[in-house]
Symmetry: D2
Subunit: 298 residues, 4 copies
Amino acid sequence: MEVHTKSVSLSENPYKERARMLISCPDGPGIVAAVSHFLHQHGANIVQSDQYTMDPAGGMFFMRIEFDLVELEQKLPGLEEQFKEVASKFEMNWRIHNVNRKKKMAIFVSKEDHCLVELIWQWQAGDLDGEIAMVVSNHPDMKEYVESFGIPYHIIPVTADTKKEAELRQLEVVGNDIDVIILARYMQIISPTFIQHYRNRIINIHHSFLPAFVGGKPYAQAYQRGVKIIGATAHYVTEELDGGPIIEQDVQRVSHRDDVRELKRIGRTIERVVLARAVKWHIEDRILVHENKTVVFN
Amino acid sequence: MEVHTKSVSLSENPYKERARMLISCPDGPGIVAAVSHFLHQHGANIVQSDQYTMDPAGGMFFMRIEFDLVELEQKLPGLEEQFKEVASKFEMNWRIHNVNRKKKMAIFVSKEDHCLVELIWQWQAGDLDGEIAMVVSNHPDMKEYVESFGIPYHIIPVTADTKKEAELRQLEVVGNDIDVIILARYMQIISPTFIQHYRNRIINIHHSFLPAFVGGKPYAQAYQRGVKIIGATAHYVTEELDGGPIIEQDVQRVSHRDDVRELKRIGRTIERVVLARAVKWHIEDRILVHENKTVVFN
Amino acid sequence: MEVHTKSVSLSENPYKERARMLISCPDGPGIVAAVSHFLHQHGANIVQSDQYTMDPAGGMFFMRIEFDLVELEQKLPGLEEQFKEVASKFEMNWRIHNVNRKKKMAIFVSKEDHCLVELIWQWQAGDLDGEIAMVVSNHPDMKEYVESFGIPYHIIPVTADTKKEAELRQLEVVGNDIDVIILARYMQIISPTFIQHYRNRIINIHHSFLPAFVGGKPYAQAYQRGVKIIGATAHYVTEELDGGPIIEQDVQRVSHRDDVRELKRIGRTIERVVLARAVKWHIEDRILVHENKTVVFN
Amino acid sequence: MEVHTKSVSLSENPYKERARMLISCPDGPGIVAAVSHFLHQHGANIVQSDQYTMDPAGGMFFMRIEFDLVELEQKLPGLEEQFKEVASKFEMNWRIHNVNRKKKMAIFVSKEDHCLVELIWQWQAGDLDGEIAMVVSNHPDMKEYVESFGIPYHIIPVTADTKKEAELRQLEVVGNDIDVIILARYMQIISPTFIQHYRNRIINIHHSFLPAFVGGKPYAQAYQRGVKIIGATAHYVTEELDGGPIIEQDVQRVSHRDDVRELKRIGRTIERVVLARAVKWHIEDRILVHENKTVVFN
């Protein structure tokens, strides 16, 4: 099957000299002037820029810049080297990303396939501008499907006894070259060790309700209280279970006519849409994390 | 000010022979046949009907019927008397409401006025087809505004010491002729005694988040975790705080740009829209309650 | 690939005695009583029912009933035969559908694949409770993909010269056993002859804007006027181009940041969601058509 | 009635040194650097900034900056004078607005009051950070209501014969000190002369449908085709009727159960919400107009 060629065969690339810069630092006067002056001096043309200051007095400053630079590939290392002086002055967290270097995704999945299928679909339609480098699963179910797209599929079973070894194997398989790990309904707890390796680079999706229902079987509880809206939340994974910085949320209306099975079906549809949006924004460097919160420039 | 005349001056009333019937009972064969046969026999013409069966096997049956009946006013008492036989056979909870008898609302409010103002606005625009019989408040703030619409305003202060007396006074003021009590941001706990008097007739509104935030200052917590959606829930009041059957919910998107103050502003807008919808549905006899859940035929 | 087994292997079928009845007729007294009495007499148990009367005085009456009947398969022909007397008395358009007889879909597609892929995805996830009997296309592009699911793929090229022959070939291939034809971005005009064969059984999807843009390149026009919302409309195909009864619509917010390419991408996402919902409702017998309007009981 | 005091009595004003700068100019290198360098030099601290480049190659550049400047009131004239050099170099359209100088609104209204009431409500709740300087109407209906808030109400009747004189009177009444004219369901055509006086400062609201319905009685047409979504569009008024740059749009779901009267009621609710948002963004200097399109930094 050759359906995924669209994502790699753009014959004319309007973004071949495009880079993205992300900055967060303590707020103070002169940051924008310094950065834009620096880029201008080095021949870069800013084509898009967003800034946000959280709490004007003594707060944090966030910035995302897209710029074009002739001969980007060659000049980027030098630019980064010279930017260190500016960055140091303002105590910046920063990175510059060459848009033409496709981001690498690793998708973790268990048995439920809806989120995985949506990501593959959006990727092969050219809507997710990255590379699905691998799928990792504790089950063999999706092997044939995933491999039909030419994507490697790693089966790493996880049991109570083998949890530690399984995680070592996962670290080995994922390696250090992956930009984002997507938990596409991966039903295993991720250990703090694993999270530290990929801080702010692991995206999880889970269902959400207004209000939240504590305890098991949330869909059954939601049905019993007759909720009128169900939703999903995509967030970065932190040590606090389902408590990390929220990237995106969305909801859909339901009614008393929707039984538990239908609520779950609708929930799946929201989950795949919300997760795909969060992944797209991560890949396009639209998300900055500060403490337990995201700034999303979309 | 005479701006509220629209709600009473419909020169031609297309609904002057219209009634609504609400039924809930254990499911079983022949209910619809029995009810529709009864109405047909008595000359009523069914113009709208909704049914819903919760859990086919041994579940509950819910029905809402709108019908027209010539000389409704005179015939209704007889119709109700004769329906008792049908109702008894199927163990029905039921009621019939003459659409021309306007429902009476009592609105409880503290200091925040947004929900009260929305209800009065929708009422004077003719969109809430009932009568605002009174406003009850523990504060005098909205007195002049409310009375300018010709609505009685009862100030009943509540303190820790006078809680009991205040409630007795409320029961006295509200009386037994009120169809629905609306807690339009009324910031006092309602006692079980009061709730029992008006079972499934007290509607409350509160903000809602995905996920819920436990503890104080929920808007501050929501801001700190960077929620992307905030919402509101309207529900019937039960003995469990904010745990009663949900009538309606809605949400709005927010972003990192919205500070706590802006989140609260958006929250107020959703609250007034959601509460007004819930009240409209209650007044139009669109809501049936079963256990901790509503069936809303809208 | 065996991913689509979920839709056929429900080991326990809770709906094995379930049927759906759709009725539309001139409004008048006694219809509900007659129908529910008839079903009760014949041992059917009504589990869900919706009615709607369009314009009370001299209007149209619409009804959808789900009922369970022991030994449905054997008894249905007799039931239908005997219902004719009731139907005739009230001049009904009616049909009864055995839920266990899966509806047959034929999907027409050209080169754009997003709607086709969504339908196949929802079908193999068990969310579209029918059978994709065939895909018909004027292009070979999706052949391998479609056939990998075991679905027949018919290539029928269409040119200005061969339009007539192509249509005859289509009529032959589709035949009389298909319940619904889905134009999943099929970019050829359907002739009145073809439409008459499948009256109210051809569903089309197209993008929609507020306001509409007359003339070519609607996305470019929408971009130039800075629309903030784009949408999609699913409708039954009639002789008036894109003018048939609307089944479902939905929208998504966009901003000035979305260029024409991104608007198109978002448009595709809405199209596939809206089309899939319309097909689901058609398959579940939730849609009644009257003149140029649908009544959707969902 | 003194209910509108909230908007003027903020005891502590966190924005007392805040200004907003709006720039649009042909895109080119160095703009951001030049502007941010200029502001930094003059002691201003940028607290929020948005940029957008429409079509990278030879396109337009748009920028909105919020900055704080000690002793803003005194320093602003000098700052503006000195900025002219920067502005001239890049051929900028620009303006700087002192946040503490409340924007002045003139609201035009005919007989339908829902948009007017919403604007007054949001204003008195402190959500519209401007001043309602006057209401102008061709009817006396809302006089008492408007004046109860201390707002001047000018009745200027318009007939076919007096159209010209009426407009001269309007120009006189509105004058040159008004920042935005809001057509809150003002049912008279505005002449090109009037539009030229207040280019990109007249906001209109009208209902919108997917698809649009040409000819009279759009709600009746929408009902007859069974639309599932209705909406509203707020736009700047240009010489092309209802064809000016779109500021904001929103929609709500409807169903076959909603008759023409109910569709209109829902339409009114969307209109008032959408108009209020557009006015809020105009007042907060969030809108830049280019050709027939808006860039909204919200």
